[in-house]
């Protein structure tokens, strides 16, 4: 399923005035791959996406799309890419069909093929019955779908989606994720988001960007492993003796939380979950909640950046 390299980004930097927004970013995307771009707001995700799609010229570095250099042969490179910016670029006063026909024409779809292209894109994005409605009157979720339809109408090998689920309600988010999963059959997808679970549910590979620099490139399995933390949250009907819990092999410390829950830190090498449950049953503590504490994006950032600064101090130290 994974084939040739479609997008190749080589040591790309972008400065606004003197301020670097993106620093020496390199990565590549293969055919049929879904790459998640993860980072907090202002990390340089959108800038990177804009450079990939030719909306911004990089200050340094080289981008090739489907073998075409974005600066030397922009027409061919742009024809191979579909882009959904953070805010869908829709004309509110147009009907969905009119808008998509225009997008098809702009992207060089031959006149005869336009109706078929429009209907195919509408079918994929679930827009079948809103063709004649004005885009301005559609809900945010539908406008987002129109935006996606616009990006795939010329069947580009690569689709770039900038925060496709921002500002949608949970139902709409689920629908858009379904849609993205359906699109991965035919297109390579680059997706940016600041929501961790989104990357986990849709992507093959993830890159974390912070302050303009790539700080992690990993597969989803690798990321999940990194996220396994060594914290359990427990809640009991009857308050146990914390020293008894702390005595279990592998438990490093036990701390009470605000709402009567207990937080148990343990050594990842020896998972004490089973022992904790056994103890709870033996002592009849009424265990009603046991949850592994999921590392959030912030935790990963802290971990990664803390690791980095630790490495820096080590190298500086004599």
């Amino acid at each position: 399923m994974i084939g040739e390299t479609l997008v190749h980004v080589e040591d790309v930097s972008k400065r606004y005035g003197g301020n670097p927004a993106v620093r020496h970013v390199s990565f590549s995307v293969r055919q049929g791959e879904v790459l998640g771009f993860l980072g907090p707001n202002g990390a340089g995700k959108t800038t990177t996406m804009q450079m990939l799609t030719g909306n911004l010229a990089p200050s340094e570095g080289r981008i090739t799309v489907a073998g075409h250099d974005l600066l030397e042969d922009p027409r061919a490179a742009k024809a191979a890419i579909g882009y959904l910016p953070e805010q869908p670029p829709v004309y509110r006063e147009l009907a969905v069909d009119e808008y998509l026909d225009y997008c098809a024409a702009l992207n060089g779809v031959a006149r005869k093929a336009r109706v078929a292209a429009r209907e195919a894109a509408k079918g994929k994005c679930g827009l079948g019955d809103v063709g004649r409605r004005l885009i301005g009157n559609l809900s945010k979720g539908y406008q987002q779908r129109v935006g996606i339809a616009q990006a795939i109408i010329h069947l580009p090998p690569v689709i770039v989606l900038d925060e496709p689920t921002a500002g949608l309600d949970p139902n709409q988010i689920r629908e858009i994720r379904h849609l993205i999963s359906a699109l991965r059959a035919d297109h390579s997808i680059i997706l940016s988001t600041h929501i961790l679970s989104e990357v986990q549910s849709t992507c093959d590979r993830v890159q974390i960007i912070n302050k303009g620099e790539l700080i992690l490139t990993d597969t989803i399995a690798g990321l999940t492993q990194r996220m396994q933390s060594s914290v359990l949250t427990l809640a009991f009907r009857r308050r146990p003796d914390t020293s008894a819990l702390a005595a279990i092999a592998g438990v490093n410390s036990v701390e009470p939380e605000d709402d009567d829950r207990l937080r148990v830190y343990f050594d990842p090498a020896s998972d004490p979950t089973e022992a904790l449950v056994r103890l709870a049953v033996q002592q009849n503590l009424g265990l009603y909640e046991l949850a592994p504490h999921r590392a959030s994006l912030e935790d990963i950032f802290v971990k990664l950046t803390a690791h980095e600064s630790a490495a820096e101090t080590r190298s500086v130290a004599p």
Binding site: K14, Y16, G17, Q50, T53, G54, N55, L56, A57, P74, R75, A76, K78, A79, I81, Y83, P85, E86, Q87, P89, V90, Y91, R92, E93, L94, Y102, C103, A105, L106, N107, G108, Q150
Partner: protein
């Protein structure tokens, strides 16, 4: 591709009430002026006949009408041109054009031709008035053609200026006011009335390069002036949008 963008631009103009209102108001005002000129012509017609003067209806009625149309459209063009790029920037729809396989020049020319088509419709509607005179007499076709060419070149210059101003800002009113300011300045550069023989300012005056057309004089110098005026602002527009992309 240029025509795709131009066609879309024109269509979207007519989806807003502004375009219709402008067509209506311009036509109403110019019709009133046309009728006034016509009335004046009827008053002096007998005198002209008596003097055996060579002034015909085209010269006395139609050319002043085109002269006034130039001033009215100097006021009105900024109102149409102001939204060309500003609106796309504001609504973040510019990304659609920028990420499509279309060059910046094509985008600018497409937008420009769309606006030009709208102004063309206005010119056609204006020309219908003199043509209605055919019901009661003849027209001086040469003079009419020269005047028409003059106003088309003039409006093409207005449109290029408006397009450039709309690439500079995110605010439509700012674009409209600055377009109006620049156009008016170019209009009054030769306020002293030195004519074509004056200095640099007189040469830059749009009015000085419009009036000869209304007198039936086609001078390449005037046509070249308009062409350079238009090209300059179009090149500026392309450069300005490219600078956006460079993010400097």
């Amino acid at each position: 591709m240029i025509f795709t963008i131009a066609h879309q631009e024109l269509r979207r103009m007519f989806l807003s009430p502004l375009a219709w209102v402008i067509l209506g108001v311009v036509q109403l005002i110019l019709a009133f002026m046309f009728l006034s000129h016509l009335e004046y012509y009827q008053m002096i017609q007998s005198k002209l006949l008596a003097m055996q003067a060579e002034h015909g209806v085209t010269e006395v009625v139609v050319m002043p009408l085109l002269g006034n149309a130039g001033i009215v459209l100097l006021l009105v063009t900024p109102l149409i041109s102001m939204r060309l790029i500003t609106e796309e920037r504001r609504n973040k729809t510019l990304a659609l054009l920028l990420s499509a396989p279309v060059s910046m020049t094509e985008i600018v020319l497409g937008k420009y031709l769309g606006l030009l088509a709208f102004l063309g419709i206005i010119v056609l509607l204006i020309l219908l008035m003199p043509l209605s005179l055919l019901a009661g007499g003849g027209l001086d076709w040469g003079l009419l053609a020269s005047g028409t060419l003059g106003i088309v070149l003039l409006l093409a210059g207005f449109a290029a200026t408006g397009l450039f101003m709309s690439t500079l800002t995110q605010h439509q009113t700012v674009a409209a006011v600055s377009t109006f300011g620049v156009l008016l300045l170019f209009w009054i550069f030769d306020w002293a009335g030195q004519g074509a023989s004056g200095g640099v300012l007189a040469y830059l005056s749009l009015l000085n390069h419009y009036e000869p057309f209304l007198k039936g004089v086609f001078n390449t110098r005037d046509a070249v002036f308009h062409a350079v005026f238009i090209a300059t602002f179009l090149v500026f527009s392309v450069r300005r949008l490219d600078m956006d992309r460079l993010g400097a």
